[in-house]
Amino acid sequence: MSFIVLVCFIAIFAPMLTKHPWNQPTGASLEPPNKAHILGTDDLGIDLWAQICYGTRNSIVVGIGTAIITCFLGIVLGVVSGYYGGIIDLVITALIDMLTSIPSLPIMIVTGAFFGPSIKNIILILSILSWAMPARIIRSKIISVKQETYIKVAEGYGAGFLYITYKHFLPQIFPISLASFIKLISKAIVSEASLSFLGLGDPTSKSWGLILNYALNFPGIYFTDYWKWWVVYPLCCIILLVLATAIIGREFEKILDAKID
């Protein structure tokens, strides 16, 4: 938890934490970590710490942005299909089945290559491909809640879909949405890293995946000392952030499960 707070803090206050700009060379090419550049510099002589700080923004924006859109899509579609049933349900579950069965990375690569590299596109593509899981969970929840007598009663008094959703469904599905929201964040961060790692991000932007991409594609990097700072630090950041979100997601699930029970 504290790591996530730290990461958010870094993302928000990035300009104050680094004395070097993230997009300008400030030192010699590939300086090892030293006093001026605490994590060293990359091949262009740009400070790595500055890049990682700014990359944090990218990762967080992609992570939270994707999670919000995905959860919204998942809730709307899940509630609609669970509540109405019939053909709508059939179509949506078919879509869900399709999306969960096809591997998402190849599709992300193809669509990413097709729509061109930008953060907006990455968020959109990731959201379109990952709403299926929350939608499925929410749909099954709604189906079971729908059978409750108080819903039937509300319907009997003439309550509409929107009213029921707002008053009864949302409070019910809030805990599970929150859990999937957090899971989605970490999934999106990893996906963004892998997409930009594959060279599908804007080649001149800064994100953790892209820093790693340039480092690992540097010819013969393992036969030099450069990997010790250029590869290790961004890699640690990705691993730590994903681990932290995963653990928080787990904890939330536990707490909420206890509540529901």
Binding site: N23, Q24, P25, S29, D43, L44, G45, G116, P117, G199, D202, P203, T204, Y214, N217, F218, P219, G220, Y222, F223, T224, Y226
Partner: protein, 529 residues
């Protein structure tokens, strides 16, 4: 009883596989006994970095060096590029008439095609005529889109005469590198681009393609036993897919490595390895599309851009020091006719701003998805922004970029290619041609640009047969080009090629090319002279 037979058979199979495996790539056991003399019975297999460069027929290979060179292993030409200049090849000698219009070539006798048939003068005549009807990927028979050959005559069974419409300085160069293809294979083929069968790849060159996998980017070439000329020293050349060339070389999977400059000291001063330094005939240039962006037609804008590029920084950071800055007059430092007195554009942001009159420019820069180009683009973007030029970088895959450049579908583009060491007529092809020479990335028309002075001088040098006079014209031309900068050459790279001489040490550079693996002399016995 049966069981034991089967197990014996199985053991024999395993043994054969092991033995064959040992003769193949990646093993160190057989290397020592070979010593590169080629006299031993164990075949010498050389493995090189693969990748798909197209089907190696003259009509289907990809239009870059790795594609063309594979095709050339299969097909011979009248002349060949040697270490110093053109050398006799299929043609053992040639004469040029005093008026410079008739070229008579005398062919070597007893040249065999891979299918055992004999090569005849008729095949040579056929090849030229076929290529004029169906231009190959690397085409030299057209000058600015028009054929320059008037007719081809067979004199007797070993001599062929080619008459050109107008004498020019590059005829021998152009005729000499035309591939000779067998008439009995191609005469009935109307769409040669569609031919994709291995058994149609019959040439008279030193190697036969025995295996090609497009998906994996694998090629296997085997030496042709009845080759007429210098004996192949390498029995099998294999191009195999590798993910990391340095690791592959360290593990002995490939036998040659363009060593990244940062790790060159691993191989220096080490008797096990030998390092060859290439001439700087491969380079990056920045293209301006004046058709799509009329602002770029303003010479001050182009000059401003030239002043905003810090070439030294690019060389230090992106090329890791293994490059020389390119000449604004195009011909690189290592070219025999390089002019050192061309106009230079030093890195000077203030000057760039002044030239732009503090105007702001917004441009899209097209690059391929290679690491080097992305890094160049990033540095350019930083410096351009200081001068008031905002660029938006768009990365696409290499073949898409090449195609966009060919179709003038870009605003600014970075493109890298070889062939900078070719005959100085490449200046005409690069700056004054209205039609691209062939499909290669080195030959692109500058979109929306023409300069009568440059065009005129380009034409004049082409028909000048006196070498000294032509040379001084080329010098003047470079100066003119450097004043105009219709495109901006960035830097020319130097390759350091490392290999183990104990296994094979025949690698040579030909006079105008940067890569040792691209010429067939590297795989053949040296000339006895």
């Amino acid at each position: 009883m049966k069981k034991s037979k089967i197990s014996k058979l199985f053991a024999a199979c395993v043994l054969t596989i092991v033995i064959f495996g040992m003769a193949g790539c990646g093993t160190k056991t057989t290397e020592k006994s070979l010593g590169g003399t080629g006299e031993q019975s164990a075949p010498l297999v050389i493995c090189l970095e693969g990748g798909d460069w197209g089907f190696p027929s003259p009509f289907a290979h990809y239009s870059r060096g790795p594609g063309a060179s594979k095709m050339r292993l299969i097909y011979d030409s009248l002349l060949e590029k040697g270490e110093e200049g053109l050398i006799p090849w299929l043609a053992r000698e040639w004469t040029i008439s005093p008026d410079g219009r008739e070229y008579t070539f005398v062919l070597n006798s007893k040249v065999k095609w891979h299918d055992g048939k004999m090569l005849t003068v008729q095949d040579v005549k056929f090849s030229f005529e076929y290529f004029m009807k169906h231009p190959p990927v690397s085409d030299s028979l057209f000058i600015d889109g028009k054929p320059f050959i008037e007719k081809i005559e067979v004199i007797d069974e070993s001599q062929v005469k080619i008459v050109v419409k107008e004498p020019n300085a590059t005829v021998l160069d152009r005729l000499g590198i035309v591939r000779i293809i067998p008439e009995h294979i191609w005469k009935d083929i109307d769409d040669p681009k569609k031919v994709m069968d291995l058994d149609k790849l019959v040439g008279c060159g030193p190697y036969i393609l025995t295996d090609y996998s497009q998906e994996q980017g694998k090629y296997r070439f085997q030496a042709f036993k009845d080759y007429w000329g210098r004996k192949p020293r390498v029995d099998v050349i294999e191009f195999i897919p590798v993910s990391d060339p340095v690791l592959a070389f360290e593990n002995g999977e490939i036998d040659l490595l363009d060593v990244p400059p940062d790790i060159i000291d691993r191989y220096e001063n080490n008797k096990e390895f030998k390092i060859l330094k290439s001439p700087a005939f491969w380079g990056y240039k920045l293209l301006f599309n004046m058709e799509k962006k009329p602002e770029l037609a303003d010479i001050n804008v182009r000059k401003a851009i030239a002043h905003a590029v810090d070439v030294d920084e690019l060389i230090e950071k992106v090329a890791r020091g293994a490059a020389v800055s390119a000449s604004s007059g195009y011909l690189p430092i290592d070219h025999i006719w390089y002019n050192p007195d061309v106009t230079r554009y030093d890195f000077d942001i203030e000057k760039a701003k002044e030239l732009l009159n503090n105007k702001l420019l917004n441009l899209v820069l097209l690059i391929s998805d290679s690491q080097q180009e992305a890094r160049i683009a990033e540095l350019l973007k930083i410096n351009f922004a200081k001068a008031g030029i905002n660029i938006d970088v768009r990365a696409v895959d290499m073949k898409t970029r090449d195609n966009c450049v060919k179709n003038c579908d870009y605003e600014l583009a970075i493109i890298g290619h070889g062939g900078w060491g070719r005959d100085a007529d490449c200046l005409r092809e690069a700056y004054a041609a209205t039609v691209a020479r062939d499909a290669g990335p080195a030959s692109n028309v500058i979109c929306g640009y023409s300069n009568p002075k440059i065009s005129q001088l380009c034409k004049k040098q082409l028909i000048e047969l006196d070498e000294q006079k032509r040379k001084s014209m080329i010098m003047e031309l470079q100066k003119l080009i450097s004043d105009e900068i219709p495109m901006l050459p960035l830097y020319n790279t130097i390759d350091y090629t490392v290999f183990k001489p104990e296994k094979y040490d025949g690698w040579v550079h030909v006079f105008d090319h940067h890569a040792v693996t691209h010429n067939k002399l590297s795989y053949l016995e040296q000339d006895k002279k």
